[in-house]
């Protein structure tokens, strides 16, 4: 994976300053996104996946704040841009798809107009030209009768169509990176496959990189080139997709993979990881996973492990792998 890196997130730290204390929602996350690849970010609810995305987009809101690290987009540091400069970047070079296609479109405007807004904001084209582009992108994302759909209001479209509109809106300016925050969670499984396929196709055609945030290992296996497993604001394991599935190293990743129902094994009950994600205000002193880890040693409770290299593109945050590779 020595391709050119479009988006380089280095040691990103986003903290939430609450009345009860500081919660490190994103705690030193580094993610590298190569051009035209799909990066998966996996983890349980509340482990900082979405917050990482929001931090990158500069959409983090009070009481959350980016407190450290750098975000470099195509060689340009976008960590400290002003609101005005940032709004030129958003939608144009980096864009985002949200979890809920039901609520991420404004109910009072026709969908076509909303997508057109994205074009008019970033490019100097006439309204008629912009409309043509919208119809074009609608066709590209597989919306039937795009000319007619242009004038439809969000409530007139199904969830799958709305998510296609959202993808169209995110792709219409041909951004370098698109962040998809659980884009298929609210959709049923058949539509999920269509949407994922569509995203992968667009990614290949336009050379856009995608950061796919999900908690679904199946989705990861299907479309991602490279995977980051996050837990309590930290990257626990990162590897190429096949490497991750073949040589699963971190106990947490193993737990996640074991939780997937399998057809080739007879099991009465699904495997679970005991416990819940720890409260970010009261993280364990040692490894943040130690309280739920079946392989935790004494050391895990007092010391924090680093990311250790175990393979060429494979890093694990666990003492078991210290000094390997």
């Amino acid at each position: 994976m020595r391709e050119s890196i479009v988006l380089d997130i280095k040691d990103l730290k986003s903290h939430f300053f609450t009345a009860k204390g500081v919660a490190p929602a994103v705690d030193g996350v580094s993610i590298q996104v190569p051009a035209g690849k799909i990066i998966g970010v996996v983890g349980e609810s509340g482990c900082g996946k979405s917050m990482t995305a929001m931090s990158v987009m500069g959409l983090l809101r009070y009481p959350g704040r980016v407190v450290g690290g750098t975000i470099t987009l195509d060689g340009r540091d976008i960590t400290h841009l002003s609101a005005k400069e940032l709004s030129k970047v958003r939608g144009n070079e980096i864009s985002m798809i949200f979890q809920e296609p039901m609520t991420s479109l404004n109910p009072v405007y026709p969908v076509g107009k909303q997508v057109r807004e994205a074009i008019l904001l970033h490019q100097k084209v006439s309204k008629a030209e912009a409309k043509e582009r919208v119809v074009e992108i609608f066709r590209a994302v597989g919306i039937p009768e795009p000319e007619k759909r242009y004038y439809n209001y969000p409530h007139q479209l199904s969830g799958g169509l709305r998510q296609r509109v959202m993808i169209g809106m995110a792709m219409v300016c041909r951004p370098k990176v698109m962040i998809a925050d659980e884009p298929t969670t609210a959709l049923d499984v058949t539509i999920e496959a269509q949407i994922l396929r569509l995203m992968k196709k667009l990614c290949e055609e336009q050379g856009t990189s995608i950061i796919l945030i999900t908690h679904n290992m199946g989705v990861v296996a299907e479309v991602c080139d490279y995977v980051y497993v996050m837990y309590a604001g930290k990257v626990m394991e990162q590897a190429e997709t096949f490497e991750l599935f073949d040589h699963t190293s971190h106990p947490y990743t193993r737990g996640l993979l074991n939780s997937i129902p399998r057809l080739d094994e007879k099991a009465r009950r699904l495997h679970t990881i005991e416990g819940v994600v720890p409260n970010l205000l009261h993280l364990p002193e040692g490894c943040s996973f130690c309280t739920r880890c079946s392989e935790a040693k004494k050391r895990c409770f007092v010391e924090r492990p680093d990311l250790y290299q175990v393979g060429e593109e494979h890093k694990v945050r666990c003492f078991q792998y210290e000094g390997e590779a």
Binding site: M57, S87, G91, E117, L161, M169, K200
Partner: protein, 310 residues
């Protein structure tokens, strides 16, 4: 891994999408403003009737010189205090002016006073409410405390202070009523903005690089419109009543202008001998105020169906 060229089964998929689209298109047709109007007429006859009444009043006000049988300012002392007759349907007042003509011309004053200050105060309230809700923090605190002060203060008293210091007259009534009525609108718009700005479509708008002001006025404001329309129809009668009260107290419209409030107070002296002098303008006020209220209720039911079910 998937093959991305042309999967088998794509045709079936496209067919299904077409079907889906057709269904949504059928559903989609049933939602224009014309249909909403039909729903209003069908569901709430009272609101529709009120709308008709208001339109009649509005027409009478606009075409007052044509509709009114006499000049509303022309005095004729020989004809003073006449009982209702065929010549003067509502009789004449103490200066011999035709009461019906004065009521018709009074609609001009009352409707103008209902509409203009309400529009101004709601515009002020909307902008302030949007800012308070959207920016939050200190902006919110300052604006909302100001609104609290306005709401805590008796509005009629405040309007009286303004009128006393600046003198009577239509323009000053506009200013006085605009000043006292913005706070309610600001509160409602603020509360709606607070919930709307958390919606994902606002986040989505941000994520494509829409600026803050555009988000406020293009994305949040239109979503507040249903409540604003209802609020508008409910604010108008209160403005009309305030004007009537001010005129009744002698600090609103000044004679010889034909304001309903002013006519009611001038007829007070003759309440026992010639009661129509006060009753005619009072009934006019009552009809207009009630019509606006019924219309507002009806509109609310149409624009916000959930409220009705509760």
């Amino acid at each position: 891994m998937l093959d991305h060229s042309k999967e088998p089964g794509t045709e079936g998929l496209e067919n299904r999408q077409k079907e889906q689209a057709d269904v949504s298109a059928q559903l989609g047709e049933a939602d224009t403003w014309k249909d909403q109007l039909k729903t209003l007429v069908r569901q709430n006859k009272l609101a529709a009737f009120s709308a008709v009444i208001l339109i009649l009043f509005l027409l009478a006000a606009v075409f007052a010189p044509i509709v009114a049988p006499y000049d509303h300012l022309k005095q004729s002392l020989t004809d003073r205090l006449q009982d209702p007759s065929l010549a003067h349907w509502l009789g004449t007042d103490e200066l011999g002016r035709d009461v019906l003509s004065r009521v018709i011309f009074g609609a001009r004053v009352s409707l103008t006073i209902g509409l203009v200050p309400t529009l101004i105060s709601m515009a002020i309230g909307t902008v302030l409410g949007l800012c308070a809700g959207f920016y939050g923090g200190k902006t919110d605190f300052v604006i909302m405390r100001l609104a609290d002060v306005m709401l805590a203060f008796p509005s009629l008293l405040l309007a009286m202070v303004v009128m006393y210091t600046m003198g009577g007259g239509l323009i000053n009534i506009f200013i006085a009523l605009s000043l006292v009525n913005w706070a309610g609108t600001a509160r409602i718009v603020r509360s709606q903005t607070l919930s709307l700005k958390e919606k994902e479509f606002v986040e989505a708008a941000r994520s494509i690089g829409v600026r803050q002001w555009t988000i406020m006025f293009r994305h949040i404001l239109p979503n507040c419109l249903p409540s604003l329309i209802v609020l508008f129809t409910l604010n108008i009668p209160s403005a009309i009543l305030s004007e009537a009260s001010l005129s009744f107290l002698g600090i609103g419209a000044q004679p010889p202008s034909a304001s309903w409030g002013l006519m009611a107070v001038r007829g007070k002296k003759y309440l026992f001998s010639e009661p129509w002098l006060s009753i005619a303008p009072s009934v006019a006020i009552m009809i207009v105020v009630m019509a606006f209220n019924f219309l507002g209720d009806g509109l609310r039911d149409v624009l916000d169906p959930y409220l009705k079910e509760q």
